[in-house]
């Protein structure tokens, strides 16, 4: 029924069944987008863990990171430097942006009811999107090549250097962050603040600085995500962050919000689920399925896969 192209047969086929090859191909697709979700989800989860706020503007920080990247790359090229150095510019700018957003919009509302914080976050997200539309125009802009996109063949499975790099770097960053939070002094301060705000203050932890640092790190990670995202989907436009941010948030909730390994697991599961749904079930309803996962998780186990149930005490 389907022609098997000659080139696949010529390669060393470790796996005989073509369907198995296709499945692994889809799996790799899912892992790639999943690792980007995971990187972004890390930012959400770290921020939520410490200040119990869903930072709606996080997705838009990614968008800004991408714009910084495409602005920096021509400058780098003029100096003969390789394109991927734009990551440094992106990370620094986004970290600073995250710090500023927290200081200007979220810190004044730290003691306000949850409703106000959510609305402010939505407002901040809208602000970033519309600012980008004014400054950069709503027309999408292409991204110059950052990492190689030539297909590499291994055992009949095709992927690019881009894909490989995305997955490897993302996982390494996540492991590094987990290590940092578990073992370093600042990491322990972060965990202390998320456990009990007041007690941490009494113990002499500079709460404001810790929170600012959390935002900065979260946003910096998002910048990594944005560069990988832009090299895979080389088109930047002001609204690109909203759907990505939403899906990454769902990933964070899926894995257990506030828990760092949860973001990793949630992101990868989301990516693979989305990929397999598009491939094997129905590409039209992939979005609905993704949101369906969220609803099922929230109804069955709101604390997520790795989460613990806590009851609120009066």
């Amino acid at each position: 029924m389907q022609n098997i192209p000659a080139r696949t047969l010529d390669d060393l086929l470790v796996l005989e069944d073509k369907r198995m090859v296709d499945f692994i191909q889809q799996l790799i697709n899912g892992l790639q987008i999943g690792s980007i979700y995971a990187l972004v989800a890390l930012g959400y989860t770290m921020v939520y863990g410490i200040v119990k706020l869903i930072n709606f503007a996080h997705g838009d920080v990614i968008m800004i990171g991408s714009y910084v990247a495409i602005t920096t790359i021509p400058l780098l090229a003029a100096f003969g430097a390789p394109s991927w150095l734009c990551i440094i510019a992106s990370v620094l700018f986004c970290a600073f942006l995250g710090f500023m957003i927290e200081a200007v919009a979220y810190r004044p509302l730290r003691n306000a009811p949850r409703l106000c914080s959510i609305i402010t976050a939505i407002g901040m997200s809208l602000f970033l999107e519309n600012l980008a539309m004014l400054v950069f125009s709503p027309n999408p802009r292409p991204v110059p090549r950052i990492f190689s996109t030539k297909p590499i063949m291994v055992g009949g499975i095709q992927f690019t250097f881009n894909t490989l790099l995305t997955i490897i770097v993302s996982v390494s960053l996540m492991v590094a962050i987990q290590f940092f939070v578990k073992n370093s002094k600042t990491g322990r301060a972060m965990r202390a603040v998320s456990e009990d705000f007041g007690a941490a203050k009494l113990m002499g932890i500079n709460v404001n600085r810790t929170i600012s640092l959390t935002f900065a790190i979260g946003s910096g990670l998002a910048a990594f995500g944005s560069v990988f995202y832009s090299s895979t989907y080389p088109l930047v436009e002001p609204m690109m962050g909203s759907m990505l941010g939403l899906k990454a948030f769902i990933a964070a909730v899926l894995g257990g919000i506030g828990i760092i390994p949860g973001a990793i697991i949630g992101g990868l599961i989301m990516g693979v689920a989305e990929s397999l749904t598009k491939a094997y079930i129905n590409s039209q309803l992939a979005d609905a399925v993704v949101f369906g996962i969220l609803i099922v998780v929230l109804l069955v186990k709101p604390s997520g896969i790795l989460g613990k149930n806590t009851k609120e005490k009066v």
Partner: protein, 381 residues
């Protein structure tokens, strides 16, 4: 404090509404008012501005040559922000200002909304670029300059079968977009009529950026051609990912691809080789009329005119033409003149055979090395 604030707000509200009422009353009786609707802000502002620029240029040329019926044409275009309800507001505003005819809207959804009202009002409505079939259905006073989406879809299927000698085709379309959905359906229908096999018919959502799952599926069935009927931004992403997934077959598209070169960076431009899409005209057309139009537009606006600009330019001239033929601004006379028009425009010969949809030929553009090249013209039977 609260009462003061409330009173102040009420006063502001009163004053501003008074200002709005008074501002609307003036009307210049020495000019013929032609209303325009276009998305001048929002995500598709690029399209709206192309239409506005080209139509304005055309009307300026007409006015410089003495106007129509001894009067100058006043072309007033309002922003509908890409939203049907805003389009209705703007349309109502123009009706209040007693416009003689409507040149608009640009995209299909707002055009359909306005067409419903225009049909009841009996005013002449000419849309340069709205290509969905439903636009001209509400009434016989609604016309369009461009060809229909179903016609485009069928033309591309014919092109695939006859020029590319394809036997199997795949389709990847946007399920949230009426333009994409309509084109995909008509392509499939015609392909099957011509004896082609549609081996994949995949979809994706409005906000999707990742098409690897669908493209991997398509790649493994190795079609002779892939049809992607969407707008240029998505098309750029799909083309990049398709080549990355190992699809070397030609990619086919419709007029939404126009402008895709601005969405792919020079370093990646090779992904667009072997792309064929249907369009309303080619910048490389050697006819005098097209050459003059391209020259003037580029000089005035700093960029080459896209297909929407070309269509809007023709629309403006057609308006002037029917005014001359009818000899008055009476709507019935204008509509009659439009139904009988035969106009040689930048986008080809435009005439209507009993409906508001013109019978026109489709230009096929091929992208080679980062340039739009004229490839072929497909004429309807």
């Amino acid at each position: 404090m609260k009462k003061k604030l409330a009173l102040l707000m009420a006063a502001v509200f009163m004053l501003s509404s008074l200002a709005a009422v008074s501002g609307c009353a003036k009307k210049d009786s020495g000019k013929i008012l032609i209303g325009g609707l276009a998305p001048l802000t929002g995500e598709i502002a690029v399209y709206g501005n192309s239409v506005k620029n080209a139509a304005t240029m055309a009307f300026d040329e007409i006015n410089a040559a003495g106007g129509v019926l001894g009067k100058q044409i006043d072309y007033k275009v309002y922003d509908e922000k890409g939203d049907p309800s805003e389009a209705i507001n703007a349309y109502n505003k123009l009706m209040d200002e007693k416009m003689v005819a409507l040149l608009g809207d640009v995209t299909s959804k707002p055009s359909i909304a306005v067409a419903e009202l225009a049909a009841k009002d009996g005013i002449l409505m000419l849309t340069p670029t709205a290509s969905a079939p439903d636009v001209t259905k509400p009434g016989s006073n609604i016309f369009r300059v461009c060809f229909l989406d179903p016609f485009q879809g069928a033309a591309m299927a014919t092109f695939a079968a006859n020029s590319l000698k394809a036997k199997t085709v795949a389709v990847l379309y946007n399920t949230s977009d009426d333009y994409s959905q309509g084109l995909a359906a008509s392509f499939k229908a015609q392909a099957e009529t011509l004896g082609l096999t549609v081996i994949n018919y995949e979809g994706y959502g409005a906000d999707d950026k990742d098409f690897k799952s669908q493209l991997t599926k398509i790649a493994s069935s190795s079609p002779d051609a892939l049809f992607v009927p969407d707008y240029y931004a998505k098309d750029a992403l799909i083309a990049t990912q398709a080549r990355g997934a190992g699809i070397t077959a030609p990619i086919l598209g419709a007029d939404g691809w126009d402008g895709v070169l601005t969405s792919v960076d020079a370093s990646n431009i090779s992904v667009l080789n072997d792309v064929y899409f249907s369009n309303h005209y080619s910048v490389q057309d050697t006819s005098e009329k097209v050459k003059a139009f391209v020259k003037n537009y580029t000089a005035k606006f700093g960029e080459a005119p896209n297909a929407l600009a070309a269509l809007a330019y023709d629309a403006a001239y057609m308006m002037a033409d029917v005014l001359k033929t009818a000899g008055s601004t009476d709507s019935k006379a204008l509509i009659k003149a439009m139904a009988a028009i035969k106009y040689e425009g930048v986008t080809g010969t435009i005439q209507y055979a009993g409906s508001g949809d013109p019978v026109k030929s489709v230009t096929i553009i091929r992208i080679v090395d980062g340039k739009y090249n004229f490839f072929d013209k497909v004429t309807p039977k």
